[in-house]
Symmetry: C2
Subunit: 475 residues, 2 copies
């Protein structure tokens, strides 16, 4: 039988963890649930361990729960051929199946969806069933991941064991936004690799894939409204069609993961002008995007219109970082425009960012911008803005004091391309540092680890993300 | 839709190759077939491109061909969401399906099986069908791989194209034995990784996975007759059950790949004594296996008996390399035994190897041994021996002159752990160097590239094997 080989690198990390006999008395659950109790009995997973949804209000027309349950079975088998020798176990300790009871029929995945769950595994019964209760499908998916981590393949008996029963676990995430950034501009990342990253995010209960799609180096994504944009791809084959993007969004949703698309403007956009050179101030001085050209904003409107048909997360990321405006003043027609409108460089940068924000809002999005926008003109930003920290510590406290929401990604602790940062440092980074006011704490919607793409391609991105991203997920 | 993500690293290598527009007039086929003719028309793969086996004598009860055809479709889609815009193509150029006609009903995979095939793709027809003819299933599997390399995903039209039709390809391998060694003793390699390696071998038409299972460092495989042997595994979870081994053998067979199991004796076997210390001359001087102990040979007999139930390739590899016999003379009871039997060190080494050969023969195997056995006592080896070169060039010509068969793996060119050897050097290595006699040439049954495991684990073995192993496969 051929089995689906899902995320290999990280899956194997879990397999070793899950099947190790080294920590019989330890707890191999990651991230650690909010609350748990356990006992000392060993149960045995039935060969026909099954899913029972009696009493669940969620009907699973999309087979999302059913597929997740099948993935659970694949995980607990740890890729081994299971040839259980039934002479080894006591039938009264057989775990026959799992009852999954979901309260909501709705499987819309949106920001702030209830991701909590309760998992209980009794140590007796006739037969024994585990029970997983969750307000939503997405809490239940987390509960299945936790259950998989309680299972151990015993190489002697060929039985999958659940040790330390009975179990009672109650869990909910500390933050609503638990992100991982990937960057497909500096290196093209093939679709199967992106899917592997998504699979592994689900193992650690991360819930936002921040897709930094395009940048200065390349523009791999098809934009139907402006079909020459992907002329900026590295090669004809290093491209994503919009149908590919839709498949990634759907694939992620089925694991409870939102996709946050980023359009980093006005800097980080040189590749846009390969197809549409008029977006450049000039071919000699091509970045940032030409603030003086109405076509620039017309095109951004078209891109965000196309985005809104596929990227249905509440937020879009508009970048706004590292904007060097010198090409604006060095290019005659742009300088003339600045003079005409009485704008200095910083004001023009502000004008660009705020106008892009309004376009995004017109397409139904709330906005995430990198912290330079806040640092330069924080009080002018739309109140629908979430400020994305990256430069260092201490920013979140200023953002939330100003009443805006914040995501923490301080590069000294949560940049995965900084290879010298240890997993322990990832684990110890605290998004709420120096924020004591409860209302302000709530404005920190979460954190994100960033896998910038300059030095990783499909051959090493997974090995570079994990296990350090999992350490952050344990925060 | 979730898709099976097969071998990622190497698959992506092919995807880039297969979907590149850079070589419209080039040939993206690897290895290059024996003979080919092609034209200048572009055909389009039908969305319901199907398999037709009318006239085939092979009934495919195991779904091997059907599954291979499905993998072909996955490969040619290059992981993209296919949303063909049918306005782009001329219906008379639609390639509707493939007729696969296999002459033999037998799907036994053995050494020397006919792997030839003929693939023809006409450029007209009503509708157009490709035809793949092969004497055996295993030739047909190669033909499917070749066909996949003729397909290109066109990012503009969203159609999979077959360019340069009509095609007429006739192909058969130059050597019967085209091997790749993996080593699961120096690093445990998880089962999904081994399966990925097998998938990628099929892309390049390699046909023997030489599984160097155990060595000094660890003994990961279950041996039912001697259950303490895998006490020598690195950890309780870094193990393969014999059911796992059977699954690997079956998985490989379904891709036309034999699994050659190796038991490297009498050296390279320290880990055996973790479970059975009496195999060691002494715990202070534990290697090679104790030649004076009848239990050593009784155990080898048990291991090979267990092997023969699962590893059904014609050959078993008995190692025999790098035997340092000093522990035999330094350990009193072994030295005493040597004296009693009038054997010097080299004679004892020969005694061990020949006795192990006879045990293997008694279980129905022919034998492969590393070249030191030939270099030391070549004229004493069983005529059923294939000598496996590794130390350097020039050995094959001596082996075949002595009338024995040979496999070429000279480490200066075909050791994948030698990271400084370029793919060009892999490609240029010639197994028949200085062998001009036709009968002697036939005794070189093939070559093998070796991925020794000291420096690779599941995170980098694939990236280290490919693309250099593919370069050798093109030889």
């Amino acid at each position: 039988m051929e089995k689906k080989t899902r995320n290999l690198i990280f899956g194997l990390f879990w397999m070793l963890l899950a099947s190790s006999n080294l920590c019989i008395d330890g707890l191999n659950i990651w991230p650690m649930p909010s609350s748990l109790k356990y006992g000392a009995k060993t149960l045995y997973l039935s060969k026909d361990f099954g899913l029972d949804t009696v009493g669940s209000k969620y009907v699973d027309a999309s087979s999302t729960l059913k597929d997740a349950f099948q993935r659970l079975l694949d995980i607990v088998e740890t890729a081994h051929a299971i040839d259980t020798n039934s002479t080894y176990y006591n039938p009264s300790l057989l775990l026959k199946g799992m009852r999954v009871v979901i309260s909501s029929p709705n499987d819309e995945l949106q920001f702030g969806v209830d991701e909590s769950y309760k998992l209980s595994i009794p140590s007796s019964g006739n037969p024994i069933y585990a029970t997983l209760e969750a307000p939503t499908l997405y809490g239940a998916l987390h509960g299945l991941q936790t259950f998989s981590q309680l299972c151990h393949f015993n190489f002697t008996t060929r039985i999958i064991e659940v040790r330390q029963a009975p179990w009672n676990i109650i869990d909910q995430p500390r933050f609503s936004y638990r992100g991982l950034l990937i960057d497909t501009s500096r290196h093209y990342q093939p679709l199967p690799i992106i899917k592997n990253v998504i699979d592994a995010m689900a193992y650690t209960k991360l819930n936002v894939l921040h897709w930094h799609i395009v940048d200065t180096q390349s523009f791999p994504l098809e934009i139907p409204s402006y079909p020459k944009l992907w002329n900026g791809a590295y090669s004809p084959s290093e491209r994503y069609t919009m149908a590919d993007a839709a498949e990634i969004v759907n694939y992620a949703k089925r694991q409870g993961i939102n996709v946050l698309a980023e359009l980093d403007v006005p800097g980080h956009a040189l590749s846009w002008g390969i197809g549409y050179p008029s977006l450049w101030p000039s071919s000699d001085c091509p970045e940032p995007l030409d603030v003086s050209n109405e076509f620039t904003f017309k095109l951004i409107d078209g891109v965000l219109s196309d985005f809104s048909k596929v990227f249905n997360f509440k937020f879009v990321h508009l970048g706004g970082d590292e904007v060097d405006t010198s090409c604006w003043v060095m290019t005659p027609h742009v300088r003339k425009w600045l003079t005409k409108h009485g704008l200095n460089e910083t004001e023009a940068y502000q004008y660009f960012v705020l106008r892009a924000q309004q376009i995004a809002i017109s397409h139904g999005y709330e906005i995430i911008n990198w912290e330079e926008t806040f640092n330069n003109f924080g009080n002018k930003l739309s109140r629908k803005t979430v400020v994305h920290n990256w430069l260092g510590g201490g920013v979140a406290q200023q953002v939330v004091a100003a009443g805006l929401r914040c995501i923490v990604s301080n590069q000294d602790k949560w940049y995965l391309d900084h290879l010298d940062i240890t997993w322990q440092q990832f684990y110890m980074n605290e998004p709420l540092t120096n924020i004591t006011n409860l209302q302000q704490q709530k404005l920190v919607i979460g954190g994100e680890v960033c896998m910038w793409g300059e030095t990783v391609d499909g051959s090493d991105i997974e090995q570079t993300i994990w296990p350090r991203a999992a350490a952050a997920a344990g925060n």
